[in-house]
């Protein structure tokens, strides 16, 4: 088990270029010992690159990787005590499942008795006992993926298991089963696990904490709830949630910020922050789930036109036209949808202010 610390880490695949393009922009990040983490982000954001740097398959061009405080940059993958599960199941086709699981132990020169007991134990946990004698080539995709995971688990010395989108090729109905298995294994072994995915649902069911990556940087590291309720960056708001956060481009005005005629009041903390900077890139963000929708005028509610409604069974997504801006609101199944015009209000508590795409904190009392 180990804590993984990325110190001023950056990586460029081609450093000889005049202006090297960085796949990973300089970052500092700590994966605490024994946690279950997800590395979430869209395709091409650098999450696989980061994973390969941690496992040692790739050497970072700048900065250090520390395992429990020890620099491991120059240590090859086989000596880093990590296990990695790849997107496509990697099994040794000609070997039996038993031999596959025993392979890392045999390479380490473990005794036969130890191999027997360890492989038996792991096979039982992964529910592979029945297929131990089968040839690995003839397994189903999810069984293969369990075998490649098992090769990491049989080793006592594994300090972290890295997953690179391991459920990509698994049938949907088996995905949740395997995901639950992963969670269970984490609880049992308490190994540090880092799980790369572009699927927010996968990330939030597996991980205690999610690192959201965007353009080569971790933009937010927090619990799924934090990422949902307080997105640090407009990208987090947009990427997490379905549909993503609504953003209104606003201007400075008397009591806060305005969207056209509409004034959004801000609290002291936010006003202070606004005074300190002179940027005009201001946005107000609100989650579709937190928008209130009425069918009659109601206090401060704004009038908007209902454009269309998507009924998704357990909830509905209503697209509203608010002074030319498309706003999405998420309604419960049983909530009536107004026809023609609707009146919407934004609870202050869920209004987030973004300056230059980054969140302005509402201060302590809102924690």
């Amino acid at each position: 088990m180990a804590e993984i610390h990325l110190k001023s880490l950056a990586h460029s695949y081609d450093r000889t270029a005049a202006e090297p393009e960085y796949a990973i922009r300089e970052m500092n990040h700590v994966w605490q010992d024994g946690g279950a983490f997800a590395l979430l982000g869209p395709s091409g954001c650098g999450k696989s690159t980061l994973l390969n740097i941690i496992s040692g398959l790739l050497e970072p061009s700048d900065g250090d990787v520390l395992f429990d405080g020890v620099r491991v940059n120059d240590i090859p993958p086989q000596d880093r005590n990590i296990a990695q599960v790849f997107q496509f199941p990697v099994v040794y086709d000609t070997m039996s499942v038993f031999d596959n699981l025993a392979f890392p132990l045999r390479n380490m020169g473990a005794s036969d008795a130890k191999i027997q007991s360890k492989v038996g134990e792991i096979a039982a946990i992964l529910e592979l006992t029945d297929v131990l004698k089968k040839k690995a080539a003839n397994l189903t995709a999810d069984e293969k993926q369990k075998v490649s995971m098992g090769r990491g688990l049989v080793r006592d010395d594994v300090s972290a298991i890295l997953f690179d989108e391991p459920l990509t090729v698994i049938d949907p109905q088996l995905k949740w089963k395997l995901r639950r298995k992963l969670k269970q294994i984490h609880e049992q072994f308490n190994t540090t696990m880092v799980y790369v995915t572009h699927d927010q649902l996968e990330a939030s069911t597996f991980a205690d904490k999610i690192a959201l990556m965007y353009e080569g940087q971790v933009v937010q590291f927090g619990t799924p709830r934090e990422l949902f309720e307080k997105p640090n960056h407009t990208f987090v708001g947009y990427f997490i949630g379905s549909p993503g956060m609504n953003f209104l481009e606003v201007k400075r005005c008397e009591e806060g910020v305005c969207f056209g005629e509409k004034i959004f009041t801000l609290n002291e903390q936010e006003l202070k922050a606004l005074e300190k900077c002179d940027s005009d890139n201001l946005k107000i963000g609100i989650r579709p789930e937190f928008i209130h929708v009425w069918d009659k005028p109601n206090g401060e509610a704004y009038k908007a036109e209902v454009e269309f409604v998507e009924d998704l069974g357990t909830y509905k997504i209503v697209s509203l036209n608010l002074d030319g801006l498309l706003i999405k609101a998420r309604l419960q199944e049983d909530q009536p949808v107004p026809e023609g015009n609707a009146f919407i209000s934004f609870p202050d508590q869920w209004l987030m202010l973004y300056v230059d795409e980054f969140l302005v904190s509402k201060g302590e009392n809102n924690e």
């Binding site: 496992s55 398959l57 090859p76 993958p77 086989q78 990590i82 296990a83 990695q84 790849f86 997107q87 496509f88 990697v90 040794y92 086709d93 000609t94 070997m95 392979f103 890392p104 390479n107 380490m108 089968k134 040839k135 080539a137 003839n138 490649s148 090769r151 990491g152």
Partner: protein, 287 residues
């Protein structure tokens, strides 16, 4: 179930049936026809049953050729397959050098068969051939035209030079198709390079190697032009392989009956051995 049955589908298969009939079945049946009759002229033909077959199978010269043929094909496979894999493993994976190696390797495959024979015929001569001259200068009494061992050595070497590239190129394409994740997983599992070869590369190469083995077996078993140009089957009969014996019989002596029987047997041997290779190499895939 009230499907109306229609036999129209058969008409759609007809072109293929005709094509196969004219390209394979009709010529083959002609040969079968020859092999069971003694034909003197268009009007005089006698049915002889299996007589020609018995004659061919008991001909000691042909038996010798058959043994020689098996030894030759065996040697070709034993040398070219491992050597081809070894070459493929050593080839650069990316960059300009990989292109250069690919080109150089492909060159022997582009040389016409009789030119290959001619090249080695001259190359191996003790007076004007670099290879033969060099061996003799080194004190070896090398003469492929007089010494059966030297003739065999030269024919084999020529075949290895000519065809190992094919195996190497096949194996190379097979190696390139292995995803990086396999090597990465193996390195994390602390596999030795031998284990990587034995458990990742070799199993993944199986399908291309099957094609390689079959092609090299069939080609070497039917080899004709190169030894014909190089040694003419000599010295004595030491490098006379089956196809050469067949040609001599069919075209040289015009013994159409025995030649027909010979062809059928020859064809069946190739079919049988290819089938054996195929079953042996795909055996155990579905357990």
């Amino acid at each position: 179930m009230n499907k109306s049955r229609s036999n129209k589908a058969w008409f759609l298969v007809l072109p293929v049936v005709l094509l196969v009939a004219f390209s394979a079945v009709v010529p083959l049946m002609t040969v079968v026809n020859y092999s069971i009759q003694d034909i003197f002229d268009v009007n005089t033909r006698i049915y002889v049953g299996t007589e020609w077959y018995r004659e061919i199978l008991s001909d000691p010269r042909l038996q010798d050729s058959l043994v020689r043929q098996f030894i030759f094909s065996g040697a070709v496979l034993l040398i070219e397959i491992p050597l081809g894999i070894a070459v493929a493993l050593m080839m650069p994976k990316t960059g300009n050098w990989s292109v250069v190696t690919l080109l150089v390797l492909a060159l022997p495959l582009l040389v016409p068969l009789n030119v290959v024979g001619t090249i080695w015929q001259i190359f191996g001569r003790a007076d004007i051939g670099l290879f033969g001259w060099a061996l003799n200068e080194m004190g070896m009494n090398y003469n492929y035209a007089a010494n059966p061992m030297d003739a065999w050595f030269t024919v084999l070497l020529m075949d290895v030079w000519h065809w190992t590239s094919l195996v190497a190129l096949l194996a190379y394409s097979g190696l390139r198709a292995i995803p990086d994740a396999y090597y990465q997983a193996a390195s994390i599992d602390r596999a030795s390079s031998w284990a990587v070869f034995r458990y990742i590369q070799l199993p993944k190469l199986k399908s291309v190697l099957l094609i390689g083995v079959l092609l090299r077996f069939m080609d070497s078993f039917m080899i004709y032009t190169e030894p014909f140009v190089l040694t003419g089957g000599g010295p004595g009969n030491s490098t006379t392989f089956l196809s050469q014996a067949l040609t001599k019989m069919a075209v040289g002596q015009f013994d159409i009956g025995p030649a027909g029987a010979f062809s059928i047997i020859y064809f069946l041997i190739i079919l049988l051995v290819s089938w054996l290779f195929y079953t042996a190499m795909t055996h155990g895939d579905s357990k």
